[in-house]
C-alpha cells in the first residue's frame, strides 16, 4: 500500500511522552493539504477479490499519463474494508467524497478525466437508490451507510492501515497516552467496568468484570499475567474481526496495550486465524511500527511501563476460538479444550492469570478510555452498551459489514440497511451466532439485537454473523450444515460432542430423505439436551442451538419432510426433481453440455427435457441456464 501523506520515516521518531505524540500528530496534519484530491480505493478482501488492486494500478498509470499539474497530483490511498462489499470495488474521491461503486480498471481513465481534471461526476458509477432511482453522490447519503453508526469502524476506509502516521493523524494512541500519563492502572479497569462493555466474541461476558477478576487473581497468585487477543474468528459468515485487524490494526494493538497496562502484563499474544494472511501482515507491520515509535516494547512513551506482544497464527481449527483450546494451541499443543472448572483469569495461558478478549472488544477499549465510559454507556441499551459490528450475508441485497448501536431491531438491519431480500419477498429467518446460534424467524423481526434479547429468542449474539435466509433455504438443510461443520471441527475428546453431533446429523439426514417419525423429533430434542448438558466445552454445548431453534420456530417444515416427504424450500436433493419449463427454454443447449450425468436431451432451439431417473440433482443445469427455465418441484 502506498500513502504519500507524510515524509515521516519510521525509526526517526521515538516518542518520549504524550506531548511528543501530539507534536507528531500536529506535524503530520500540518503537512497535509486538505484540498488535495485523494483517491481512496478499498482493499478489503472482498474488493481485492473483485480486482481492486488492479483498479489501484490503473489509477497510478492513468494519473501519470494524464500529466496532471504537479501541484495537485492526487494521492492514492488504499484502505481496509468499507463494508459495502456487494458493490465493490469501491472508490471514493476526496475531498468531495464522491462514491463510485463496481469500478473496474477500464473505468479509471474516465474517472481521471471527468472527475479529477474536469471536476464532474461519472454518473454511471454512482450508487442509485433502488427505491427512488435517485443518484447518490456521497457515501454518507447512501441508505446502507446513513443508518449505521460507525464507532469501532470509524477509521476503517479512511486510513491506510499500513502507515502508522495515518493512524496517529486520526487520533490513534491518544487513549494510551492519556492512560499512561494521567490514569492509574486501576482507573483503566474502573472505566471499562463503568462503560458496560461486554465481550464481542460470543457469550457477552462483561469485560470490566473479567479484568477485575484477573486483578483479584493476581493478588492471590502474583504475576506474570498474560493478555491475549482472540482473532480466531471462525464462525462461518463472520468477517468483522478480520476487517478490524486488516483495516485498523493499531486500534486492536492499542486496546491490547491498554489492557496490559491495566493488569500489569508484560507479554501479550495475538492469536489470528491462518485463513487471514492479510490481517496477519497488517498486524505485523503495525507492531513493528509501534515498536519503532516507542508505543510498544520497552518503556512505552517513557512511562516506565514495558509490554510486548507476538502473533500466533492459527493452524486451522475452529475449536481454538474456545478460550482454553486457544491457550493450549499457543502452548504448541493440539487445541483440545481443558477439562477444568477453573476460570482463565485465574489459570489460563501457561497456568497463569490470563485475560482473553476478542478483536472487536479490544478495538472498543481505546474509544472508551479516550472519550470516557459515560459516553460509551450512552450508546446502545442498558445491558448491552455500545455498538456492534455485524456481517450481513446470505440472501440480502446489501451484503457487507454493518455497525449499529445495540438494541436496534433486526428488521432495521436486514430490511433498511440490508435492503431486504433480492426476490423482494420477506426474509424467512436470520441466523445469528454462527454454529452456536439459532434462527430468528421473520415474525420476530422486531427483536432488538442485543445480547439478552437474542438469547431469549433462543439464539445468541455470537461474534456477529447475520445470515439472511429466504424461502429457498431449508431449515433441515441448514441444521445439517452446521452439524456437519461442527462434527469436523469438534476436538473429538468428549463423547456427547464426538458421537452426539454425528447421531443428530444422521437423524436430520433421514429427514432430508423424507424418512423419519415424530418419535425421531422427540429423540432429537432429548439428545440435543444431552449434548447441551454433557459436552465439555462451549463448542459442544452450544452445537444443538441451530437445530433446537429451528425445531422451535419451523416445526412445520420438519413435519413436511417427515409426513409429506416434501422439502418446501426445494433444497433437499432426495425430495426434489429438476425439470425444464418448455415455455422458457430457448434450446441453447448450454445445460445439456454442462450436465455431468448427460441426462438432458433436446434439439437446438427446441425445449430440452431432463431424464429424472438419471438426474444426479447436482443443480448445474440450473446454475447454467440464463433463462431461468430449469425449475425445481
Amino acid at each position: 500500500m502506498h500513502s504519500q501523506s507524510t515524509a515521516l520515516k519510521v525509526g526517526s521518531w521515538r516518542l518520549q511522552s504524550a506531548q511528543d505524540l501530539n507534536k507528531l500528530r500536529e506535524q503530520i496534519l500540518s503537512e497535509r493539504d486538505p484540498a488535495r484530491p485523494e483517491i481512496v480505493i478499498c482493499h478489503g478482501t472482498g474488493c481485492l477479490a473483485n480486482g481492486s488492486d488492479k483498479v489501484a494500478k490503473a489509477f497510478k498509470t492513468a494519473i501519470d499519463a494524464a500529466g496532471i499539474d504537479a501541484k495537485v497530483v492526487p494521492g492514492i490511498k488504499t484502505t481496509g474494508c468499507h463494508g459495502f462489499c456487494s458493490r465493490g470495488p469501491l472508490v471514493i474521491i476526496r475531498p468531495k467524497g464522491l462514491f463510485y461503486q463496481r469500478v473496474s480498471p477500464k473505468d479509471v481513465e474516465e474517472i481521471v478525466k471527468r472527475t479529477l481534471v474536469e471536476g464532474q461526476a461519472v454518473e454511471r458509477l454512482l450508487y442509485k437508490d433502488p427505491k427512488t432511482d435517485d443518484l447518490i453522490f456521497t457515501e454518507d447519503q447512501i441508505p446502507f451507510y446513513k443508518l449505521q453508526q460507525r464507532v469501532v469502524l470509524h477509521n476503517i476506509g479512511k486510513i491506510d492501515p499500513t502507515d502508522i502516521s495515518d493512524t496517529i493523524a486520526a487520533g490513534g494512541y491518544q487513549a494510551l497516552a492519556k492512560a499512561l500519563s494521567t490514569m492509574r492502572p486501576e482507573q483503566v479497569v474502573k472505566e471499562i467496568e463503568k462503560s458496560g462493555l461486554r465481550g464481542r466474541g460470543g457469550a457477552g461476558f462483561p469485560t470490566g468484570k473479567k479484568w477485575r477478576s484477573a486483578l483479584n487473581a493476581i493478588k492471590k497468585k502474583g504475576r506474570p499475567v498474560y493478555v491475549v487477543v482472540n482473532g480466531d474468528e471462525g464462525d462461518p459468515g463472520a468477517f468483522m474481526d478480520r476487517t478490524i485487524m486488516e483495516g485498523d490494526p493499531h486500534a486492536v494493538l492499542e486496546g491490547l496495550i491498554l489492557a496490559a497496562y491495566a493488569l500489569g502484563a508484560q507479554q501479550g499474544y495475538l492469536y489470528v486465524r491462518a485463513e487471514y494472511p492479510l490481517a496477519i501482515r497488517h498486524l505485523e507491520i503495525a507492531m513493528a511500527q509501534a515498536r519503532a515509535f516507542g508505543l510498544l516494547g520497552e518503556n512505552i512513551l517513557n512511562s516506565g511501563f514495558s509490554f510486548d506482544a507476538r502473533i500466533n497464527r492459527g493452524a486451522g481449527a475452529f475449536v481454538c476460538g474456545e478460550s482454553t483450546a486457544l491457550f493450549t494451541s499457543i502452548e504448541g499443543k493440539p487445541g483440545n479444550p481443558r477439562p477444568k472448572y477453573v476460570r482463565s483469569v485465574e489459570e489460563g495461558l501457561w497456568g497463569r492469570p490470563t485475560v482473553l478478549n476478542n478483536v472487536e472488544t479490544f478495538a472498543n477499549v481505546p474509544l472508551i478510555i479516550e472519550r470516557g465510559s459515560g459516553w460509551y454507556a450512552g450508546l446502545g441499551v442498558s445491558h448491552s452498551t455500545g455498538t456492534k459490528v455485524f456481517s450481513l450475508v446470505g440472501k440480502v441485497n446489501n451484503v457487507g459489514l454493518v455497525e449499529v448501536p445495540m438494541g436496534v431491531p433486526m428488521a432495521a438491519i436486514v430490511e433498511e440497511i440490508g435492503g431486504g431480500v433480492p426476490n423482494g419477498k420477506p426474509f424467512k429467518a436470520v441466523q445469528t451466532g454462527g454454529p452456536s446460534g439459532g434462527c430468528i424467524p421473520y415474525r420476530l423481526k422486531g427483536t432488538p439485537v442485543d445480547f439478552d434479547s437474542l438469547t431469549a429468542a433462543g439464539s445468541m449474539m455470537g461474534s456477529g454473523a447475520m445470515i439472511v435466509m429466504d424461502d429457498t433455504d431449508c431449515v433441515v438443510d441448514v441444521g445439517r450444515y452446521f452439524l456437519r461443520f461442527l462434527e469436523e471441527e469438534s476436538c473429538g475428546k468428549c463423547l456427547p460432542c464426538r458421537l452426539g453431533l454425528t447421531r443428530m446429523r444422521e437423524i436430520l439426514d433421514n429427514f432430508s430423505k423424507g424418512q423419519g417419525t415424530e418419535q425421531d423429533i422427540e429423540d432429537l430434542t432429548s439428545l440435543a439436551q444431552a449434548v447441551q448438558d454433557g459436552a465439555l466445552c462451549a463448542l459442544g454445548s452450544s452445537a444443538p442451538n441451530p437445530v433446537l431453534t429451528t425445531l422451535r420456530y419451523f416445526k412445520e417444515e420438519y413435519m413436511a419432510h417427515i409426513r409429506d416427504h416434501k422439502c418446501p424450500a426445494g433444497v433437499c436433493k432426495d425430495l426434489i426433481t429438476y425439470s425444464i419449463d418448455p415455455e422458457l427454454c430457448t434450446g441453447c443447449m448450454s445445460c445439456a453440455r454442462q450436465c455431468p450425468a448427460q441426462c438432458i436431451t433436446g434439439k437446438k432451439k427446441a425445449a430440452h427435457i431432463i431424464d429424472a431417473e438419471k438426474c444426479l440433482r447436482c443443480g448445474i443445469c440450473m446454475d447454467t441456464c440464463k433463462f431461468n427455465a430449469v425449475v425445481i418441484s
Binding site: T45, P236, F239, E275, A315, G316, V478, F482
Partner: protein, 165 residues
Amino acid sequence: MSHYGVQIDEIIERYPDKPEYLIFLLQDIQSSYGYISADAMQLACDHTGVPLTQGYSVATFYQSFRLDPSGEHEIRVCLGTACHLKGGQRLVEDLQRRLNVKAGGTTEDMRFTLSTVNCVGACALAPVVVVDNEYLANATAKKVDKQLKVLDSQNAVGIEEGGHA
C-alpha cells in the same frame, strides 16, 4: 508456492528450542515444502523437545497441515454459511466428479489438490472458490472449469519454455 531452495535446518534455526514453537515450525515447513514429511517432523520435534507422538498429534489435529505432498495447484472451495446457501456444496461435488478426487485429496497426476475451507470471509462474493491464491467470485461449475483450463494451458506453456531452456 513452495520454495524448495530453503534448507530445513535454516527453518529449524528460526525458532528457539521450546515446545511452544512446534506449531510455528510446522507452519514454516508446510509453507516451504507444501507438506510435512516424517523426517521434517522428526527434526521439528527434536528441536522443540516434543515427543514425536505429540508432534504427530499436533500435525493431525490442525487442518492446515498436510502429511502428503500436495498438488501443483490448490483448489479450495469455501463452505462458509453464505457459500453453502448459494451452492458451495454443489461446486465441491462437481469438482470431485471432474477431477476424480475426493475433497482433501490430490489428483493422481499431482496437478490439483482439492480442499474445502470453512469460510474465507468473502461472503459478498458467495459462492467462492480460491484457486491457488486467486478468488473466483460468484463461482459456478463453468467458471471453475474455465479457470482450470487456463491453468492447464499455462502449464503447457511452462513445460515448453522449460524444454527450450
